[in-house]
Symmetry: C3
Subunit: 300 residues, 3 copies
């Protein structure tokens, strides 16, 4: 059985059903793309303007549900984000079953190093070189001509948790990772898979060592990223960008095409035009640094 | 034989014995908890106020030894920290022998990925999921319900060395790692084991990818840490804290419960009250950054 | 066949030959050390003053070639750096063949953990301890008494690419890694191999966890580097230096002996004298940080 009834799901989230308890739900999807076989969640009225018109069911609060026209099926809860987290645990059972059922497909002229693990339900293109001790989780696609260096992890769980009293409720990740053609990924880098959609590295992306790409990040063609840079969740990086080492990019941002970010810069807001950006504390002899900071702090 | 005589140890450190050369020493411990079967070291008079009253032997300088009352056994050296490093090499032989003698204990319903290594003398709880290519050193305890992602290393040697003329003398690490229940550790993170005591992750701690937890760090319940953050040695982080990505916390600090630290911040001092902390150089177009810095440097 | 004719190479780079098309080229080398059996590339007139006097062939522009005296063989192209990248792909075939032909040599009293991979053409000294899940690429030398922690990657491709219209042309790395005696490398650190020469860690270097050492970096004796620090390509770090955590050092710099760099500092220029250096944005309560930045930005 690869679906749950709305009634079953209502018990998982301790929610109230408005609509058809027998409704069969096959998937959990983002509210913008949710189809009639799936459930989505809405935690804020702002999201309503992008809500798909034929969602199979909607997990939300009583208040928000009243703003939604049409004959939708609802699961009414106080905390839709927590409810979402609980549902992911349930749908993860289907996700794992599907992964287990599908053998990975390996292209022609592939070289796989020793002790590298390619889990089920992966698609690897032609002429791919995977070095030693690489770990690839299920539901990963890798295009042609890619090079994956030792110690890389692809498809690990994104860092997503709903806060609950006294702790965290894990959001199980049901998306995957899509890697285009001619992508190179440096040693010990990590690419998390998406929560519901995919994490995407476009054709020609080149990543240095020890890079962190969080869940649902999208990186445009031929963008180059230097060592120990981290891109937080759901951020989109344009094409032909260059991010230097130790850069951080906060979550849910949009970085335009052709942006260069110098090393050690923390990008806290979206960047809408190409150019060179930085935010670096100048290095000085430490005694001068101390005087410099003291002087700045005295300014009224 | 799982002990050394004080006479034997005196030769290791080229030290002078005051007391009983036949005294049997089974362990090396911190001065605050040292018992009658163990030796500790004191490198500063400040430490004397916390010195255990029944240490089996004390490695220290001649000068400091004169401040200690009672009938202790002493090993007198010029550089107690270097002497300590040398003793750890000796006690590491016992440590390894003990580890080799004890098979690891694995709980119920454990899933261990391919090419993951669990060395001897570990205890893994129930319902633990260890993904592929994980490395767990001896003397690691992992509680129930934990998830350990690919490429994680737990129990590696802490980064501790005593300076010597023309180099470094390695401090062999004799502690372990204690991980509570329902802890999740992101891909390619590293948790070093303690020097004498344990490195501790409490129940419900969640770590993102590529995090560094140094020797003897203690992290309180339900604290969440984002990618590429590093906690230096012997620092204590409270419960319910949130550290964002690329944060650094210096060594030997205390961070209160409920502290949030924003990304890219370097925490140089202890934080005694809950709240939100930051220290981030603002990102600008690089030409503006250069003018901004030049302007600041001109201020008298 | 372990060489290429100049004629063959001219087709690879779509270049024009001046000189002997039958000239046999066995290697590609840096212009300063290139011998009569090798080819080098010159992309800037500045490099001419260090050009070896007996290079077997020189890949450069027509304009630069006219500045070179003597009876050299030339490959004339518009973009020598791109031509170099294309040549490395060709010489990489010889490089791989040579690596495959040479079995690794392991010293006495070596301990190799489980699932660690030592590829061909490596030399490992005596009394070396390699922990679990370590990946060592071909052409790596490790001295006596070294400790390599779990998840370390040594000898991975440096992050070098020549820009081409609509993407990147990979520079295949033909150098190696030379690690001296008594070096310790922390868990999940990565040491890339050199492009043409070697990446070098001298005797007594100690590296903490998750450190990035780029291609062609050279690190002097007994230098200590703390966690999550990154050294960019071709930088030279002196002896007896101490770099704290999250430090970045830009590429092609020279850092003198005896330099200490405090945590989170980005080193943007060479350091010519011993001392303590820093560049750290001070941590404050976030509301104070915001006021502090706003105040600084208002200064005329």
């Amino acid at each position: 059985m690869d679906f749950f009834s709305l009634e079953h799901l209502s018990k998982i989230v301790s929610g109230e059903i408005k609509g058809d308890p027998k409704k069969q739900i096959y998937n959990i999807e983002n509210f913008a793309v949710c189809n009639s076989n799936s459930i989505c969640f809405i935690k804020s009225k702002i999201d309503l303007k992008n809500l798909s018109s034929d969602a199979g069911a909607i997990l939300t609060t009583s208040e928000i549900s009243k703003k939604i026209n049409g004959e939708s099926n609802f699961l009414i809860v106080d905390d839709p984000y927590l409810g979402f987290a609980k549902l992911t645990e349930e749908f993860f059972k289907i996700y794992e079953k599907r992964n287990n059922a599908v053998e990975s497909s390996l292209g022609k002229n592939i070289s796989i190093g020793r002790n590298s693990v390619i889990n089920n339900n992966c698609v690897i293109g032609d002429n791919v070189r995977i070095h030693d001790n690489v770990s690839i989780y299920p539901n990963t696609q890798i295009g042609d001509g890619c090079i994956i260096h030792s110690g890389v992890v692809i498809g690990s769980d994104g860092f997503g948790f709903a806060p609950v009293k006294g702790g965290w409720c894990k959001i199980h990740h049901l998306g995957g990772v899509h890697i285009g053609n001619n992508v190179e990924i440096g040693a010990n880098s990590v690419i998390d898979r998406g929560a519901l959609d995919n994490t995407v590295l476009s054709d020609g992306v080149i990543l240095d060592n020890q890079i962190h790409i969080a869940h649902n990040v999208q990186i445009g063609e031929n963008t180059a990223i230097a060592a120990q840079t981290a891109i937080a969740g759901s951020t989109t990086i344009g094409a032909n960008c260059q991010l230097s080492g130790h850069v951080g990019v906060a979550d849910h941002l949009n970085i335009a095409n052709g942006v260069t970010v110098l090393a050690h810069t923390f990008v806290t807001k979206s960047i809408t035009k190409a150019g060179v950006y930085s935010g670096i504390m100048p290095m000085q002899e430490h005694s001068d640094s101390l005087k410099f900071i003291a002087k700045l702090k005295k300014i009224k």
